[in-house]
Symmetry: none
Subunit: 214 residues, 4 copies
DNA sequence: GATGAATGAGTGTTCATTCAT
DNA sequence: TATGAATGAACACTCATTCAT
């Protein structure tokens, strides 16, 4: 009887799968520990391939980080439009957008941490991602369209910069998802459970609508 | 006659001064590079003493980090009450609190980065700081007092959790100070200059007041 | 009518050209950085082909090095006879041979460095080059012929080993071309400019002639 | 009975000895394999301490290399004056200097290889050694004194640059010690044994004296 | 003849930390 | 109170080379 139960499954050459596998692991790892806190060695161990391939395909830790950020952005931004928000009326649409980080918190943690980590590095990597502005265009256009529709229906006051809406959405979303640890440590977890989150959600909807409505 | 007008505070044989010097350097360094990105060696080089003394006085990198966070919090929280906000009427007081991160952005960067770094570590260090809750009490009480005063004057609607105000203030403040890099890279710098900041400030005041006013 | 006067020698599907291209790059690289200091990767990048082809045609770094040395030797040794030295009388011939490294210094640097690098490796690669002795025969015969002619004319004393002449020529040539850096750092650059080189040349001619003349 | 035969000999702190031990190993290793061919790992293994201490004391491979070169130069240059050469008459003195590399070849190999390795690196490290010129002054002054004495006695012709003598000595010495491998591979080992070396020595004495004598 | 994919071992260097005085 | 010496483990990265097609 052979001591080896099964022959080593010789993985056929598959560059796309190898790259994707590395990226997936890297996103998780960088999100969990930040750039400086992550180790190429450990990332490699968690992949199905070796450290050597990370350098073969990406060139280095920084480039891998950049690729991971870009993929993370694409994944998240690609999903925002899936919610049928465009079909809603302007007020409902804004309410829906505000609600996301309060009702879908856990799913956003990974991405929020990636973004925070990048701000800790002064945004130096996103600045080097080609087409990063374009990548974010849909997110900007979504609120712009909603706002213009609201102006047309007479719900919203004209003359506002719709980027303010985007800013407000990102601000409260980021805070709720990413900054929970220090906030809880400082002020307790009153706003952390379902009721607290629902309360926050309602108030933030009220705040945003007050800003845009006439 | 001595050429030096004031006696230089000797740092040798002066434990308090040595410790403070280390803390000051550590706050800057951890704020700039995060916990994992900072090196005890480099911190030591930037102090007036040696690496050995960091271990002598603090015990290790994590303990130094904790001490740095605590000092940073004390410095910032100790100053919030200095603005004469208590003298203002409730509406003006909230407006003043909203305005801080838009009018005093640069001064808050260091602290905001410390806080973000700590959230990236899941708040594990603030959780170990004894009396951290108490340290933050003034910040909670300030908005609570303003809110209760506002309810008493009839400006604010009763029945709200004043922690929501604290949450809102921290959310927009943090975002404006810390998350500027990725926001600018994604959507341009329209909201970054003086006019943009003033615009944001006004709208956020409007939003917050809409939440609390009757 | 073609705009290109001469047809570009296609390197693809042209083994000889590909090999020659690799050899040319390798000679430069090994000469510049030595064997250990050179990287197959970098050599490959500087060629018109890929790293894989280096292994395809040469088998490995050592074999490429050996091929490079051999080519370098052939190129240099093939040129020594081109100077019309055989036509000169014995004294003039020796003077001409001494003069080469002082009047043609820069052109010899590449080869001198290859030779020095090989001595640093204890000559292990030249020892493996088949026909290396034969390759150097012309250089030995050249001075032997000159010497014998000089003996015949009565200019040179008989009974000398003409290899001494070869040794002397190589010694002063190598030193002037290869060892200039440490000599200059140690003793200044007095002997480095045109006058210094001419002075050296004259004295070395005098020294060699004193050895061979009766 | 204790499983450990002898207690680990706890080396007391002795920085000077540790540094010297590292330098000694480094000189041998760099001499044997050149800069690029040497590995800090392997150097460390051959010392009585660890790789970490190399970085602790020297900072890096390059700095260790520089220190090794400097020490090698000091050792060799410090010994040249020990031979009682100053007591000899000028002609005997030059003969003695010429003779060294032919009668003492093996002892010079290590140093000659260090120097060659440094020339392969274009002398970039000696250029950074502070006081390198001064380090070599004795070697320059020795031949200068001999030459001036020879002029005074009427043995040598006046008006020569004594640096030429130094150059000649170094050229033939270096070649005999360092370039033996390629020369032998190219032309055989006729000049390699005792008789060959004595022959070379005599001829080079003759050559040098012809240069300086009137 | 030609090539992209893949690799294990090794590179120089820095990490946070403890020892010994 | 203060400090230079010493350390093992980990760091990001590159090496020459072979596999598979």
């Amino acid at each position: 009887m052979n001591i080896q139960a099964a022959p080593v499954p010789r993985r056929k050459q598959n560059p796309a799968a190898v790259k994707q596998n590395i990226i997936d692991v890297a996103i998780k790892e960088f999100s969990a520990k930040g750039f400086a806190g992550s180790s190429v060695n450990i990332i490699a161990e968690k992949t199905d391939t070796s450290k050597r391939m990370i350098y073969y395909y990406f060139g280095g830790k920084s480039e891998l980080y950049r690729a991971a950020i870009e993929h993370a952005y694409r994944k998240v931004l690609g999903r925002e439009g899936d919610n049928g928000i465009e079909q809603l009326n302007p007020v409902q649409a804004l309410e829906a957008l505000v609600s996301i980080p309060f009702r879908n918190r856990e799913n956003l943690v990974c991405f929020a941490r990636i973004v925070a980590g990048e701000n800790l590095l002064f945004g130096e990597h996103v600045a080097q991602i080609e087409g990063f502005r374009e990548l974010n265009e849909p997110a900007r256009l979504l609120v712009q369209d909603i706002y213009q529709k609201g102006v047309a229906t007479g719900d919203f006051q004209p003359g506002l910069n719709p980027l303010i809406i985007r800013w407000f959405l990102n601000a409260i979303g980021t805070f709720n998802v990413f900054n929970q640890h220090t906030f809880k440590a400082a002020f307790g977890n009153e706003l952390d459970g379902p009721e607290g989150q629902e309360l926050l959600r309602q108030q933030m909807v009220k705040g945003l609508l007050a800003i845009v409505q006439r």
